[in-house]
């Protein structure tokens, strides 16, 4: 098989908090092939964006320790100097962020912000302004010439996100990281932006790392899904396999808490508790089990290996707790928000 586009092995990230390093990501293994869309799913605080930032090399080097290996097209990224990283950011990998308003410089014209993505890597780029207009065209902005002269505040949320996508695409990267690209947008705009990302991905055969907590987005976009909890991958599978045969208790809880299946009048399932604080994460255990109140303590506190076990075709799960896991719906209380 051809070389993987992105290959992350045993990626751990530690943040220096109050003088001590605390682990936010523990031995994450993920890979993306050319043209593949990998969705990284999990609730807030599970480490999705931390992983994305490691791929971009955008952690503050003074306060972060990244270990393991991240290879992009076979080139190791961990250990690169700032200068080396600068040369591949925006070229081999483009990133789309969550909030398109705050992610654009309020004092810079749209056209200039897109142009910068190109000129920063090649000062002698020819016909920059034409290429800017072309990019704006590509992302579905009708009045490209006028929009290029405008400032971010004059655009709608959807338009701004289109601009962000244009910036990410400026140098035709092989990998696009989309960090919750639709979370800050109106529901009506979300579908348009997703369609756009999908269309571009297929046209350019780019790989996408899609970070989201919206399972609807996952179902529409992803080829493969990785579920992350407390800085660890707990389950990995093809999108259909994962939706049809979820194994890990966390995956099953997430799917159960998806509001799109709830009929009017029905109580929405909510996972009790929250992701533990970094200092409370013991990565030798399956940390999600702490949030399942009906489980036996011996199960919750059992040591679990880092490696995932294969349970099906391209389907991997962490630990064994899933084998005997059932929702405890005897008491009404568990279901309440």
């Amino acid at each position: 098989m051809a070389e993987k586009l992105l290959d992350a092995q045993d990626v751990s990230v530690e943040f220096k908090i109050a003088g001590e390093y605390q682990k936010a990501l523990h031995k994450v293994n993920l890979s993306i092939n050319h043209g593949e869309v990998l969705a990284l799913v999990g609730e807030s605080g599970s480490g999705k964006s931390t992983f994305a930032m490691s791929v971009m090399g955008l952690h503050n080097p003074d306060q972060t320790k990244v270990t393991g290996s991240i290879k992009l097209n076979g080139n190791e990224l961990i250990g690169l100097t700032e200068r080396q990283f600068d040369q591949y950011r925006g070229v081999s990998v483009g990133m789309i962020f969550q909030d398109p308003l705050s992610s654009l410089n309020p004092l810079m014209k749209i056209g200039d912000q897109i142009a910068e993505a190109m000129t920063v890597h090649d000062k002698h780029t020819q016909q920059v302004s034409n290429r800017v207009l072309g990019l704006l065209d590509d992302v579905g902005i009708v009045d490209a010439k006028r929009v290029a002269q405008q400032y971010p505040h004059a655009l709608s949320g959807g338009m701004r996100q289109r601009v962000m996508i244009a910036i990410a695409l400026a140098n035709e990267p092989d990998l696009i990281i989309a960090d919750e690209p639709t979370t800050a947008l109106d529901v009506t705009i979300q579908a348009q932006i997703l369609d756009l990302i999908k269309e571009i991905q297929q046209k350019k055969n780019a790989g996408i790392l899609l970070i989201t907590h919206d399972l609807g987005v996952v179902a529409e976009m992803a080829d493969t899904v990785a579920v992350m909890y407390a800085g660890q991958i707990v389950e990995k599978a093809g999108v259909e396999e994962l939706f049809n045969h979820p194994k890990h208790p966390y995956t099953r809880s997430l799917l159960r808490a998806d509001p799109s299946d709830v009929k009017p009048g029905e109580t929405l399932y909510a996972i009790p508790g929250t992701v533990p604080a970094l200092k409370d994460m013991d990565h030798n255990k399956d940390l999600f089990l702490q949030r399942v109140p009906w489980l036996d303590e011996s199960v919750v506190n059992a040591n679990v290996k880092d490696e995932l076990q294969q349970v099906g075709d391209h389907h991997y799960v962490r630990g064994t707790a899933w084998q005997n896991f059932e929702f405890n719906d005897v008491t009404e209380g568990e279901n309440q928000v």
């Binding site: 950011r89 810079m108 910068e116 890597h121």
Partner: protein, 321 residues
């Protein structure tokens, strides 16, 4: 843009009237009157009454105000009772204006130069020694009254190391303009430099925290994700965003220059508008006091206007079509 400016100018008219009424009332509230202390204690009451009548001081307040504002409109700010007895106020102010402007401009420029350099240095080395030193320095200069530093500088550079003149403006009307101009600079420099050195605090604090805030903004991350180096992100993105709020204060700084510096001018014996105001206050020279206050009120309003225009000019979000 022009409509915004026009609207702002029109708003200034009622504001100016309000300011003038306020100033007039405040002047009235001061104890005593222009004759207080200037008269022979043995003058008979009839003489005093006659003089008060001649000056219009026995009329009802509103009439005095109308009379006064009418004359102000015709460019007549009255005659000084005490500071330069017999001179018209316009003439006094005119004679004080140039020293105030020359010193004020130097002071304003130096203040920004000092404050901006300090803030850039501080923000770049956040929490390092140099940052701490600058923070302490700016805390001291804002805590200690400025005149204390003025005396210290006076002692240092006029008495101990006498490289600057002790008082005066250096302006000599009998000399050519250029000679007078450069001679004035020598007199203006020490007070201007001193004011600037010790008044960086607010700009420094504001700019420093802006710089640090802006570094954490999302658009900085976007720029980094494009591959822009940290240095260029700072130069091309952060700086302009961080300076934006400072720009709106520049309007006030420009007009504030003309209002004079009361403490500095008095202590350095530099007779500008500020020193004039102090003299007028202590000798209860009503016409001069009201005139200077009117000038300063007008300048404050003009400063607000300038600041709005500058903000609209540098910030596309405020621009009105």
């Amino acid at each position: 843009m022009w409509r915004t400016i026009l609207r702002r100018v029109l708003i200034m008219i009622p504001q100016l009237f309000l300011v003038s009424i306020l100033i007039f009332m405040l002047a009235q509230l001061m104890p005593g009157d222009p004759f207080y202390g200037n008269l022979n204690p043995n003058s008979d009451p009839a003489t005093i009454a006659r003089m008060r009548h001649a000056a219009g001081l026995d009329q009802p307040l509103y009439q005095q105000y109308i009379h006064w504002i009418d004359r102000v409109f015709h460019g007549d700010l009255g005659t000084s009772y005490a500071v330069n007895k017999g001179w018209t106020v316009t003439r006094i102010i005119a004679s004080r204006l140039w020293p105030t402007i020359s010193m004020g401009i130097i002071a304003a420029i130096l203040t920004y130069v000092f404050a901006i350099s300090e803030a850039l240095l501080s923000a770049r080395h956040e929490n390092k020694t140099i940052d701490r030193i600058l923070m302490v320095w700016n805390t001291i200069t804002s805590a200690v009254p400025s005149f204390v530093f003025y005396f210290l500088m006076m002692i240092l550079f006029v008495y101990l190391i006498p490289i600057f003149p002790a008082s005066g403006t250096g302006i000599d009307d009998s000399q050519s303009f250029t000679t007078s101009f450069f001679s004035n600079l020598r007199y203006a420099f020490l007070p201007a430099f001193t004011i600037a050195l010790f008044s960086t605090n607010s700009i420094f604090q504001y700019l420093r925290s802006n710089l640090l805030d802006q570094q954490a903004q999302d658009y900085v991350r976007t720029a980094r994700a494009k591959g822009v180096t940290i240095k260029d992100v700072f130069r091309k993105h952060i700086l302009r965003n961080a300076f934006l709020p400072i720009a709106s204060g520049i309007g006030y700084s420009i007009t504030g220059v003309l209002g004079g510096a009361m403490f500095a001018e008095t202590i350095f014996g530099y007779p500008g508008i500020g020193a004039l105001f102090v003299q007028a206050l202590t000798s209860r020279d009503y016409t001069v006091i009201t005139a200077v206050m009117l000038l300063q009120g007008f300048l404050a309003l003009l400063g607000g206007l300038l600041s709005d225009v500058i903000s609209a000019w540098v910030d596309p979000r405020i621009r009105v079509k």
